[in-house]
Amino acid sequence: MASEEKVNILMVDDQPGKLLSYEVILGELGENLIRAGSAAQALEYLLKTEIAVILVDVCMPDTDGFELMSMIREHPRFQKTAIIFISAVQLADVDHLRAYAMGAVDYVPVTVVPEVLRAKVKVFVELYRKTRKLESFNRELERRVAECTAALEASNAQLMESERRRSLALTAGNMGSWDLDPVGGDYIWDEGQYRLYGVDRKTFVADIKNVHNLVHLNDREAVEETMRRAIATGEGGQMEFRILRPDGEQRWCLGTVAVTSEAPGQVLRLSGCTVDITERKLDEERQVLLAREVDHRAKNALAVVQSLVRLTRAETIADFVQAVDGRVRALASVHTLLSESRWVGASLRQLVEDEMAPYRTRQSGQISIDGPPILLLPAAAQTFALALHELATNAAKYGALSINVGHVKLKWELKAKNLVLIWEETGCAAVYEPARKGFGLTVIKASIEGQLGGKVTPEWSLEGLRCTFTIPRTKIMRTPDQNKRPRSADDKFALPHAPEEPAGRRILLAEDEVLVGRMVHDMLVDFGFNVVGPITDLAGALSAAENAALDGAVLDVNLGGELIYPVAKVLSARGIPFVFVTGYDGDSIDERYAEVPLLRKPIEPQLLQGLLMARPLTAVA
């Protein structure tokens, strides 16, 4: 015990001799011995020093031992301090002692036996030491408990804060999170989850049945399957599904489920989160649409170019190149105009200016342009550009723009139902009606009359060519009822080259792109067919399919913005076989007609010939 700190033993006696003898007896305990010659002195020591054991003589002059003990015991600090009386009086005072026996009290009779006194003091010293140790352990324990409590409180507060932040983040990100007790069957939803499903926390009971009912009918089974698999494998899962909010709005969701389990197959809890991905889905759909549209336009453009090349006639290669070059250029410039407007339309004036720009350089004032601003629909703009190009090219070759004194006046005005555009050449005395109504005028008539349902009136005078286009407004401009196409009998279609008395098999050709139509028409004629068409609009095609005598048909799937299927239906009903032509991918074909042969633009003549000749056309059931 040498390593342990010494404790204080207070000895109280009014006789110095006795104090000395106690000191001798207790000396070998190795503790600190403090001598007090009076009760007052003892009290003073007690107040200032830690005392382990007090040794008191019962008989002292001023304050006797009992009085001193009662004072000590009353003090809260010394209620348990060990007191040993040294008393000459024996039995009579034992009862007296008992009254104070709440603390450690003992007594030693005189004459003092050194071993007995030493042993008793030693017991109390040990008791004191152990009590101190216990107290210090307790204090340490309390400190640790306090520390743990504080740490727990801090981590609790942190948890709550993080939960609050998580909830905020989830809400901001259009997310919700949930917990599900697989036994009870009740969901615990956070705020975001209620918001996402569009239900009120106060009125909506989020149990399995109610939540299930909000899932889109077509996705319910898949959602259940995902949950079942998550529970079975314990690995969780993820899936996209739709929900229908009570207000009828459909939202796309990405759901993730996680499984908490104690042992394999023993699911304690399912939890997960839901993300609203409706915007993303819409974006994806838009992208797919856009990609298909771009694809379609590119293929159509190539098809137009292909037919331009095939239809161009020229004496020399140089002329041919020049002609093709000019026509492709005309298409390219209108394409630029359209793409600048994001395919909303093209300004007629801008289109005219662009087309006439190459001829303005020769001499200013040779060309005058006049007319109100008009925004042309994309398809009409292409047609216009080509028609104008032909007029300008002709003028440059044979007309007003081939001589310096010539003049071209181009003006248009909007009438009640029509757009009237007049191309007037003056000052060319030596201009004759071209002997060969080559591609130029053919294209102009086919475009303006065939595609736009207008009327072309060319007049030749001594002054030069005067050409008037009269075109229905509904074909070229965006009007409120633009989407509703009239299917009246007046909506006539041109059959430019249809023979009066068909000798071979009769093929119906429905194609809204005039040049492609012309090209396919020429191909079919080359193959030995008689051609009905090309017909450029659905009403015309329907009418022909219903009434004309036909042996087969070549149908553009998308006719002037409308799907050809009504025509296909009529033909099927009549047992007339047909093939489809499309600028789109195959998946855009209605599955009812999956068996129908499909040609892609630009059309390969051998393929078309092969389809029509190699095997007899059979009707689709």
Partner: protein
Amino acid sequence: MARSIVVKGVESPERLLDETALFLHHVVTDLPAEKQPMLERLHSSDEDLMNQTVLLVDDDARNIFALSSVLERRGMNVLTATTGREAISILEQSQNEVSLVLMDIMMPEMDGYETINVIRKNPAFRRLPILALTAKAMKGDREKCLEAGASDCLAKPVNTEQLLSALRMWLHR
């Protein structure tokens, strides 16, 4: 009687009643029945005393021991000094830790009056409550205490309840 009244801020009727009772040396049980709960409410809580530090100054260790016994039982911290000089040095080292001093007047060498005088000279202790304890029931004794700078004066032998009331009053925050 007017000469004995000390004017100070009274924060509540309870305190006023308490103070007058204390001043008039009334024992609480002698007060009218409806007044007693007022004081009991005031006294029932040791809130004002808990963890406050008192310096006891007395040359008799038995007095100090008995007083510290009473005060510690109510959760107070007790510092003790047996001479005036010791009291002054404890105060100067305690850095405003002491919130009240109980000062015995009759001490050898440097008596209570003188000690209070010295303490009051330090500006830091100008407002420190010092309660003088005096065994003299002589006329003019109280005035002498207050003159010396004591905040209040209690007669010896000290009645525990009176002492605690005085402490609560002076230590009330």
